[in-house]
Amino acid sequence: MSMLTVSGSPHIHGDDSTKKIMYGVVYAMIPAMLVSVYYFGLDALRVLLIASVACLFFEWVIQKYLIKGPITITDGSALVTGILLAFNVPSNLPTWMIIIGALVAIGMAKMSFGGLGKNVFNPALVARVFLLISFPVQMTSWPKPQAIINGLTDAITGPTPLGIVKEGLGAGKTMSELAPELPDYMQTMVGQMGGSLGEVSAIALILGGIYMLVRKIITWHIPVSMLLTVVIFSGIFWGVDPEHYADPVFHLLTGGMLLGAIFMATDMVSSPMTKGGQLVYGFGIGLLTILIRMWGAYPEGVSFAILLMNAVVPLINMGFKPKRFGAKPGVVIKTS
């Protein structure tokens, strides 16, 4: 007889793993990656590669030389952060800035907090906001998407639809005057608009979202509550004054809204643990996003909104407990 193992129950495991979840997220990002390469060409590939490799590299260096602990770069979490970082920057961002972004994401936002599972803020978003504040010019000059077939050189840069609206309305124009400059719905669905790498194509992002839902990597609660809040809130203002407020569909399909709702706000580590808490969290993100988009200094507010709500997660977790079994008093029994 060989050596017998003795351990506590349960003796079987469902076979899910961190690795499977993380690579599941990577697979879910493939459509958006393909679209980004299609529209932004080899530059998109460069950003994706540099961001991913840099994130993996920094995690390895920190684990090997600073923490001197186990190396876990194959668990897929650093790769997810790398791709998300790439998704959140323009395709023409200089290589060295991407590397700084990766260092901020992995070094500051993830490993300083204790590594995987311990970070309060979404690492890729921390890096994005860091870059936005440090290099505002480079972070807001977006190459216009042109299909790969149209050649890759001398990409023309231009503002994002949200930028056009913010600036236009600020300058006293009305929505109807701005309409010719904005992409139509079809264009925003497929990704033909200015923006960061991964945020342009609604279809690609939704595909990824459905994949993650089916694989039970995410639940619907955060994206639905966030997007519903955006639709209702922006809808009210648009309904009252359509000339000075963009319509809800525009809000849904432009900027980082879907990227944020599907891939960033749903990050398990930095979002609430219960479904009730997740609904509140999604609501908060939606509300803050619209507040920033309408009245803030920046045209886009998704990243700030998610980071702000990240900070509230511990509180939400305290306030929203799962429905406990047997919490309500039992039924009254009639004596026969």
């Binding site: 017998l4 129950s9 003796h11 979840i21 995987l116 311990k118 799962p322 047997g326 026969s336």
Partner: protein, 447 residues
Amino acid sequence: MIGTVKTFSLGGVHPEENKLSANAPIEKIPVPKQAFIPMGQNLGTPSKPVVSKGDLVKVGQLIAEASGFISTNIHSPVSGKVLKIDDIVDASGYKRPGIIINVDGDEWDESIDLSDDIKEDIELDGKEIIEKIKEKGLVGMGGATFPTYVKMMPPPGKVAEYLLINGVECEPYLTSDHRLMLEKGKEILIGTRILMKALNVNKAIIGIEINKLDAINHLNELAKKYEGIKIQPLKVQYPQGGEKQLIKAALNREVPSGKLPIEVGCVVQNVGTAFAVYEAVQKNKPLIDRVVTVTGKGVKKPSNFLVRIGTPLQDMIDAVEGFPETTGKIINGGPMMGKALISLDVPVVKGSSGILLMEEGESKRKPESPCIRCSKCTYVCPQGLEPFLLSKASKLAKFDMAEKEKVMDCIECGSCQYTCPASIPLLDYLRLGKTMVGANIRNRNKK
């Protein structure tokens, strides 16, 4: 037509069923040469031997009696001579007092009805039934081994409205209840009627998961003859065999936290117990044998055995054509809640429902990695707890917090740990938390 299929609403998982022995009819295996009978076979106080070295005993003769309220009588499962009263290693791995009997022949106590006739009429009244159940040493056969008669006596002020018979058998691999329902359906139904009479209830529900459709159909057919017994089909969902989950599934009643099923008017007994009740009350037979599943992916002939209490596990392994070379773990019970054994030199006891031999490859735990806060443990917890939080509280010795977050509500079903993608041994920590919080509560109550 089996009617509406129900289930419980909160959490749950669906592990691979692996009911390898589902089609193996119950077989008797030979009486052992030596029987090892531990004195602690029930939840509560161990029994006290009433025989001494050298005594001759018959099958069914009382050899140890209950000591205290939550305790049971033990009867000799074999005939022969008491070799000694000594410490024997039981399934817990510890040495515990027990009686060792050298078997000689198979002579039964005359008071036991050994005929195959099915006795339908219930002659005893409620009080006598409970007395009989107590006298014949019956315990919960599902594994919890709580003395059956204690459950049959609702505390003052509480009234039973429903009797629930647990035929769920939600543990993967195990099939002893399934086979019993197929082969001893009538006896189970009569046993149910007996329990109903003792409890003075007119409604009984037998809950069975629909992976045992043959048992559902069979009992449905038979139950037409027995008033007040309903067969309730249930969706396959672990841990539906948990008392609280079964009551929720069948009746949509929620046993309040920290309370017993009687709080919502229910008494739950296992199908195996219902069968034992039939034998005790109608045939005057004490609990001296039971059905045990012997199974595993490497086992040549996964089987269900009718085996005497006190039979060494090795005898059953011999009966399935030997111990597979590839075995890496021996489990007493099912893979979700069973206990790992250190050897086969332990006897079958009243609570043994199965022996599972796991292959070497599947017996080791996966390495633990950091919690990724995916919440999956929370989603699957049938008690609505937050296992990630409770395990962390226990690990950090924050037992007050664990208590506040209801660690005592944990039914140790293992669904959380089964699900955790980080392979964190959540239940190890939860058990620690329960032990410490339980001690704290007892200390407080003393003051």
